[in-house]
């Protein structure tokens, strides 16, 4: 495997009074496509700049291939950066931009030509070698920046929101291309983004960051299906969150009395003892929507409500459903409070489901299996205020 592993431990970095990194530790494996994902100001770019050598951490260690690189200037590190605004040299042609690192090392002209041509071919820009950056489109500039960052044959490529300046279609395209380049060169990619869809689609692993901390590290599936905190659940994709107390356990199934909703069944794997206060997340696409009550099932959660906001987007429709008061004899149903609402996604892959079209103001039933709900946060102290724990 080419590339290097990168490890940071106990990194802290403050700018004035602002703590950009608060005790960040991460291990990135050789050849991995690793994403740092978080909202703006979460510290992801600072972390990237610390790895690149543009910022010195206040405390903590950065190691590349097991060797500490703290204090080493950027030109002495085996990593190269693709900048957010490309940072192409406006006075040099595309060819000379890509050749820049070779010119610094006084590589003979013949070799420069050969290597630049090979790297321009990698990003499919051979025919643009003579142009100035100002004559290129956004996507082309992006590719020049990638070719230039790769020509030193770094063992780690750092990408700082490289696609944020491109329009949505081109972004999709470039993302695939980046993934292919990663497969071809086989080095470690560290990719900073605030776009969860980008991170989910190309990463081997993702670190979700917020407020200068790493909240969770895992594969895209782990991050999406098993968020370990409310923030991660909310930040990655769309989600329905419930808060409540665990009132009973039957094997892996916990019965939660959710505020504003009523009883809720969750598969919890021992992480939610009776009396614990929990936050439960259910992805909108895990819910099913129907006009008639679903058949009774022991593990099923049912919610009754009125369609408040159908949002049609071609391949799917998202419904925002507001709970309506339960009729007599339906006390088992969740959704008794009119203040509660859920969002549900209905894919239009199989239009022949036989379900009549659901419209605005229709009364509907939402239901989902206990296995599709996850406990994202547990507070074992329960819902009691902290004072209650004070020793008497």
């Amino acid at each position: 495997m080419k590339g290097s592993d990168v490890a940071v431990s106990a990194l802290r970095k403050s700018f004035g009074g602002f703590e950009a990194l608060k005790d960040v530790s991460l291990e990135i494996r050789k050849g991995e496509f690793f994403s740092l994902l978080g909202p703006s100001g979460c510290g992801k770019t600072t972390l990237l700049r610390v790895i690149a050598g543009f910022e010195d951490p206040d405390t903590g260690i950065v190691a590349i291939d097991g060797r500490e690189v703290n204090g080493l200037p950027p030109d002495k590190r085996r990593c190269n950066t693709v900048f957010q605004n490309y940072a192409l040299f406006p006075h040099l042609s595309v060819f000379e931009n890509v050749a820049f690192p070779l010119r610094l090392r006084k590589v003979p002209n013949r070799l420069v030509k050969e290597q630049v041509r090979r790297h321009l071919a990698l990003v499919q820009l051979e025919s643009h070698a003579g142009k100035k950056p100002s004559q290129l489109s956004g996507g082309q500039k992006q590719r020049v920046a990638i070719a230039r960052a790769l020509i030193n044959e770094p063992s780690v490529l750092l990408l700082d929101e490289p696609l944020s300046a491109l329009d949505a279609k081109l972004r999709q395209h470039m993302l695939l291309e980046l993934d292919q380049i990663h497969d071809q060169v086989g080095i470690t990619f560290i990719y900073v983004t605030h776009d969860q869809a980008e991170a989910l689609s190309v990463s081997d692993r993702i670190a979700v960051m917020d407020g200068g901390r790493v909240l969770q590290v895992g594969s895209p599936q782990e991050i999406y299906e098993n968020p370990k905190s409310e923030f991660v659940a909310r930040f990655i994709g769309d989600t329905n969150l419930f808060k409540g107390l665990v009132v009973a356990r039957e094997g892996p199934i916990a019965r939660v009395e959710a505020e504003g909703y009523g009883p809720l069944l969750v598969e919890a794997n021992g992480e939610a003892p009776v009396g614990a206060r929990v936050t439960v997340a259910v992805r909108p696409e895990k819910l099913r929507i129907a006009s008639a009550p679903p058949p009774r099932h022991a593990e099923a959660n049912v919610f009754r409500g009125v369609v408040e906001e159908p949002v049609y987007s071609g391949f799917q429709t998202k419904y925002l459903v507001r709970g309506s008061a339960s009729a007599a004899g339906e006390a088992e149903l969740a959704g008794s409070g009119p203040s509660s609402s859920l969002s549900v996604l209905r894919q239009h892959a199989q239009w022949s489901e036989g379900v009549p079209d659901i419209r605005w103001k229709d009364e509907v039933y939402l239901y989902w299996s206990a296995r599709d709900a996850v406990v994202v946060e547990t507070d074992a102290r329960g819902g009691k205020p902290p004072e209650a724990e004070a020793p008497r």
């Binding site: 950027p74 605004n85 940072a87 040299f89 690192p101 499919q124 960052a149 030193n152 081109l170």
Partner: protein, 288 residues
Amino acid sequence: MSAKRNYGALYAAPQGLWLLAFFAAPLAIIVAYSFMRKGLYGGVTGELSLDAYRALANPSLLAVAARTLAVSLAATALTLLIALPCGYHIARSRNQALRLFLVIVPFWTNFLVRIYAWIAILGNEGFLNDFLRALGVVADPVQFLYNQWAVVLVLVYMYLPYAILPLFSTIDKFDFTLLEAARDLGATKPQAMGRVLLPNIQGGVVTAVLFTFIPIFGAYAVPLLVGGKDSYMLGNIIADQVTKTRNWPLASAISMTVTALTGVAALAFLYRSRKPAPAPLEGQGGAS
């Protein structure tokens, strides 16, 4: 009569008349005088002649011209060396307004007063000599004034703001992430400055050079007040020819030559460092 009349000429008239009366006309007079013969008691006689231009070949005059060129080049180079880091610092600092203000403050004091201030500092009884004597570094005053070095020093001081301001404004527009990119790609700090910063602020450097070299080449007061007899520059020769020797045709001929030479030099410099014409846009949006 057309419905829409072009008033451009009318709007430009005040400026045009002003330039005609106070720039073109005096220049024409100087051109005319340079081709006339010197009057017996000053002034000119009406006959046309090339005497004044022939007199330019005078070796002592050529020596002054050579010295003027050397002093101007040295002072411009020094000014640039000081102004570049200065402009860079102001552009990168958080409090640009205060620093720019400090650069401009000297303009509040009259040009001549500032030259006399230097005399007060560098003179034999000046602050610097007093200070050195108080420290016991020297016993007798050091002759700082009335030589080439004093001229260059004061010229650099005088024209520094004219170099700092255009350099600052170009460096301020420079994208500093380019320096990070250069460092990231393996450039050392000096390499990043030389290969990325300098080529991208060329416009500011050109302006700074023109703003300092041209006035320094025609300097008059500075060499007169802080220079010695051996630091005379062309400006002083011209003044002497007008006021003392009263050879107006020669003064005019020297002026014309200086104007022509600086004009040609400035144009050549501008031409050499012009931006390459942008090539037509093609292959746009080729996201294939």
